[in-house]
Structures are given as structure tokens and as C-alpha cells.
Symmetry: C2
């Protein structure tokens, strides 16, 4: 099955590049709301499921035991830009568990945010694992290990109690088998399990509504959604899509990017979960698709619509500020076909 | 017509992302050697034609009049990383024409090379137009204007004598009409004209062989190819694909990347010109396709093969150095289908 074109990139009067993809929107009972393309092809959810991976930390009571704040819980769900506030919150989470940066097993990279990257270089500094975009998730894993009285060492490995718990949480909420044969290793060294888009969407429909979750799971999901809605900066960073979208829409949308063109979201007021992937792994396509689905499904005020349209159909300008073209979701995404 | 999958990106045992595209390989008489996908769809060549855009500068004798060196001629064809040697050579070209950085109309951006970017920030510096990846091409345009006794001001505009000359050179070598209705504005503010891949490939077959070009054009093409083969660093930069490929293969290959997944090349010993585009505009796909075509068409020594295979099928590692997967051209590119 050939996935359809879902995003176009224009230059002048022509379409310069095109992105194909697949989309699944389901409700919290698992009924299909929208299905585009080959949704049965397994995808690696990558960082799009960080919020689901944070459920055991909150559900277990360990987040409360360590007094994690809302911005720290939001950071546990983040692919952050490595700005000073992100690194500081990751450090704080580790301290609360009696640990330090040496415990992080995510690896070191320069801040993902360009300005933060250069500011760190200009200060004569060099990056630590705290600047890794996944440091908050990893600090959460370390809290989970320590809170359970386990040695955090090796917490990234599939058979460590932390990853077993996280995998179990993913299986519980998505209802999909997370099998080793269909797994790969993520950029931050933890396992990522390939599942079907409708399973992923179902997980986010349940995350957004709590429907079908046990009491603690329901409370944990609500707490995580609220934390991110209150601190959308912590989940991404300056100028980033997720931050802008949730700054605009608050608890009406939970959205999270994953690498290789994956995006997941919950629209709690509709009970919908959304999972999508751009075939080619391109983030600009996944973002335009996600913003296009927000335009399609949610009632927006004029101001909200303006913000979301700018995310769905960004105008491309060059270094001299001249307008070159536009990224835009196709009618198939917008539901205007 | 659906373009085929030409590049796969794997993770674990699964294919995570896939890139479609089209490829045209023609000889210097315009005969088709290989055609994959919809090659009649017009593409913007973007920076892939910088070497062709540099022909008027050399052909006119102005490069010699100003005593441009081989590394400066190579820089005129470059999408460089903004490393100190690149900025210095652009500055030198401008000085030779009696001009300075204030004349450049390409706009300012931080060095494209990550290390150069951070080094500039760490030194307390800020970027100038000399760091723009197109500064060499623009310095060449300014030399062309001044050498012809024209005011360089506005040299990026379609109706300035410089752009008229450049457009004429592109039409002459590709044999394709470069029409305003099918044009767009490039990242550096000059016009870019959408043409069919076989026309683009034909231009590079003639650029690589000189066949069908007037005497001065033939000499200019040879001079440009030699200059780039001697200074492959100047055309891209540290760790970059074009630099590595031409460091390895010298004059046997002229290859140049363009934005949005375009790549062009000449294989002079075979008389072939190559033009390709990844539908989605992704550079990793265009690179793997180009390296795959080098493997397919050229006889390589064991050492050369090792270098080109590493470019065609790079292993993907994470921040901890763990192997995650691979980028790889499909059998359709490699000719093993």
C-alpha cells in the first residue's frame, strides 16, 4: 500500500518536496476515528511515548516520595533543547534521588537548541549528560529505580527492573505486545518497541481520558498532562513546536514529538488519541501533519487558530527575510478532500 | 507515477524510515543510461548547479584577470561549512575585485559546520555574510560583475546582468529553458529555475566531458573540475560528503549537493552526468543515492570501495557509540534488483 502525500513544501509556484505518511486517530474504546495510509506497518514510537514511560514514576508514588515538582514531571516527558532551565531541572531530579549526573546513561551531546548550544560554547563550557535532550526522562528512570530500592546502574537495559516496568506500562496502556524481536535501541540507549499506529493512538486516547486505566494509572496520567500543560517549556524549549502548541492550547492538547517523523497526541475533550508517522522520518512533515489534525478536529478561537495555522503552514523565508514558499498539510490531513 | 523506494533507514531488524526518489543518468549526447521514477517532474537544482553557475566567471577570463586561485574557484562552487579557511577565501576573492563583505547579498547565517559554529561562538565572534555557505558563489558573482565593469549592486536579482549571464550559461549547458514562471528564490536570494532531471544530468555530462561545449566553455569546465578535485575541502568542509568523496576519487567524480535532496554529479571517464532528487528533500537519502550510484557505475579499488561504501551505507550510532541501524540504498539504486 502506497501511503498518500500528506505534506507539501512549496517554492515559488511549484511543489518542491513532498512527504507521505500514515495517521491513526482512535477513541478511548479503540474505535477508529480516522485512518490514513498503511497504519498496520509497525513504527518505533521513539520519544513520542515519553509521557507514557513516565507513568510508573508517578503511579508508584515515587514522584511524590521525592517531591518532584510539576516542571520536573514535565521534564521527565521531554525531548528538551538543553537550555539552562532544562539542565537544572534534570540535576534537581537526580539530587532528590540522592544521585548525580554520573548516573545518567543517556550519553552526552551538545544542546539541541541552537541558541543554547552557542551560549554554552560562548561561556567556555562543554556539555554534560544533563544537556542530552532525554536527561529528564533518564533522571525519572533513576528516581524510579532508587525509589524502588534498586541499583540504578544499567537502568537503560531491557532486562533492568526499570525498563521492565516501563515496558509493562507501555503494554498496559496501548494493549500491544512489546516484543524483543521488534525492538531497537533508541538514541539515548533504552529499548524502543515497534508497534502499530492504532495501538499507539489507543494508548494516547486512554492517556488523555483515563478510560480503562486503573485508579492510580488514571491519576498519574492526569497529573502528567497537567504538569506538561503548566510547563510546556520544559517538554521541548524555546521556539519548539510542542511548547508553542501547548502554550496556546493548554490541557486541550497533549502532543509529543518522536524522532524519525513520529508524533503522538491526546485530545482529551474528544477522547481521541493520535499517532502518525512521516514515512521519511522528517520532523517538519510530522509537525505540519499534527498541527493540521488540530485544525481538523478541535474548535479554536480566532487567536488559537492563528497560532495553530502558523504551525501547520509555516512560511519559509531565507536569510534575507524573503518569502520562498510554505510547508502545508494536504487536504487528506485537513479533511477538506 | 509513484517514485520507488531508493533508500531505507533501519533500526534493529526493522526498516524505520524510507525515502523515495527519482534518478536520471545520461551521457554527453543526451542518451539515457538510467532512469528511475518520474524524471519529468521539474526540480529546483538549488546549490547542486553552483559549478555550472561558475562557468561565466572562468569562461570570460575574469577569474584569471583577478588572479583567482584554484581554492577560490572551488569555493565559488561551494556550499561550505563556514570554517575559517572558507570565510578567508571568500574575503580574498572580494578583495581581488576591489570589494568587501558589505557587497555580499547572500544574507548572514552562523556557520553550517557545527564545530565551526561553536568555535566562532566560543571566540566571542558573530557571523558575517562570509560565513554564509554560499559566500564563495556570491563572491564569484561580484567578481563577474566588477570584471565586466558593472555595478555589483543587486547582483542577486533575475534581471541583473550577472544573473542573466548565469541563467544563459545554465540554459546553454543543460539545453533546458529556464523560465521565470518555473522559478523560485533560493536560500541565498538568487533565482533557481526548475527543470527536468534529464536536462540537469545532461548539463553535468557535458560539464564532465566538455562535449558539445564551445572552446572557452570546455576549458572553463575542465578548470573548475580540476580546481575542485585539488581542493575538495573548499567545496564543502570537514567531514562533509562531497569533500570525502572527492578526496577519495579526485577528478574521477565531480559531485555537488543541493538543498531539498538534490544531487548532481559528473563521471567524466564514462561520460555520464547524474541528477537525482529525494522526493522528501532529505539530504541523507540523496547522499546514500549518490554514493550508491558511484558504487554501481565506477570501478573502484578496495580502498576506494571502502570509503564509498561507508558513504552509501553509513552505520548509525547513538551518543554512547552503540550501533542502532543503517542508512542504505535499495537494490534499485545499486543495480542489483
Amino acid at each position: 500500500m502506497d501511503n498518500p502525500f500528506l505534506v507539501e513544501v512549496t517554492r515559488g509556484h511549484l511543489v518542491e518536496s513532498r512527504h507521505r505518511g500514515s495517521v491513526s486517530v482512535v477513541d478511548a474504546e479503540g474505535a477508529t476515528v480516522l485512518s490514513i495510509g498503511d497504519v498496520d506497518r509497525r513504527v518505533f514510537p521513539r520519544s513520542a511515548v515519553k509521557a507514557l514511560q513516565a507513568i510508573p514514576l508517578v503511579e508508584s508514588g515515587i514522584a511524590d516520595k521525592y517531591g518532584l515538582t510539576d516542571d520536573e514531571i514535565a521534564l521527565a516527558c521531554a525531548s528538551h533543547s538543553g537550555e539552562p532551565a532544562h539542565a537544572a531541572a534534570a540535576q534537581s531530579m537526580l539530587s532528590k534521588a540522592g544521585q548525580d549526573v554520573g548516573c545518567l546513561e543517556c550519553g552526552i551531546h551538545w544542546p539541541m537548541g541552537e541558541a543554547a548550544n552557542r551560549a554554552l560554547a560562548a561561556s567556555g563550557g562543554s556539555p554534560s549528560a544533563l544537556h542530552n535532550n532525554c536527561s529528564g526522562k533518564h533522571a525519572g528512570f533513576i528516581c524510579l529505580a532508587c525509589g524502588q530500592g534498586e541499583n540504578p546502574k544499567g537502568y537503560v537495559l531491557a532486562d533492568h527492573p526499570v525498563q521492565r516496568k516501563v515496558r509493562e506500562a507501555l503494554e498496559d496502556i496501548t494493549g500491544a505486545c512489546h516484543s524483543v524481536e521488534k525492538s531497537g535501541i533508541d538514541g539515548c540507549s533504552i529499548p524502543t518497541y515497534a508497534i502499530r499506529l492504532p495501538s499507539l493512538a489507543f494508548g494516547f486516547a486512554r492517556f488523555g481520558t483515563g478510560l480503562g486505566l486503573p485508579g492510580e494509572g488514571k491519576a498519574a496520567a492526569a497529573r502528567i498532562r497537567k504538569a506538561v500543560a503548566r510547563h510546556p517549556f520544559m517538554v521541548a524549549g524555546t521556539g519548539r513546536f510542542d511548547t508553542k502548541l501547548m502554550e496556546c492550547l493548554g490541557e486541550r492538547v497533549f502532543a509529543k514529538v518522536g524522532a524519525e517523523g513520529v508524533y503522538c497526541a491526546s485530545f482529551p475533550e474528544l477522547g481521541y488519541g493520535i499517532a502518525l508517522k512521516a514515512d521519511d522520518g522528517n520532523a517538519r512533515a510530522a509537525e505540519a501533519m499534527m498541527a493540521g489534525l488540530v485544525l481538523r478536529f478541535l474548535s479554536l478561537s480566532d487567536n488559537e487558530r492563528k497560532v495553530v495555522e502558523a504551525l501547520a503552514q509555516p512560511v519559509l523565508k531565507n536569510w534575507n527575510g524573503i518569502e520562498l514558499g510554505q510547508i502545508r498539510p494536504t487536504a487528506e490531513i485537513l479533511g477538506t478532500a
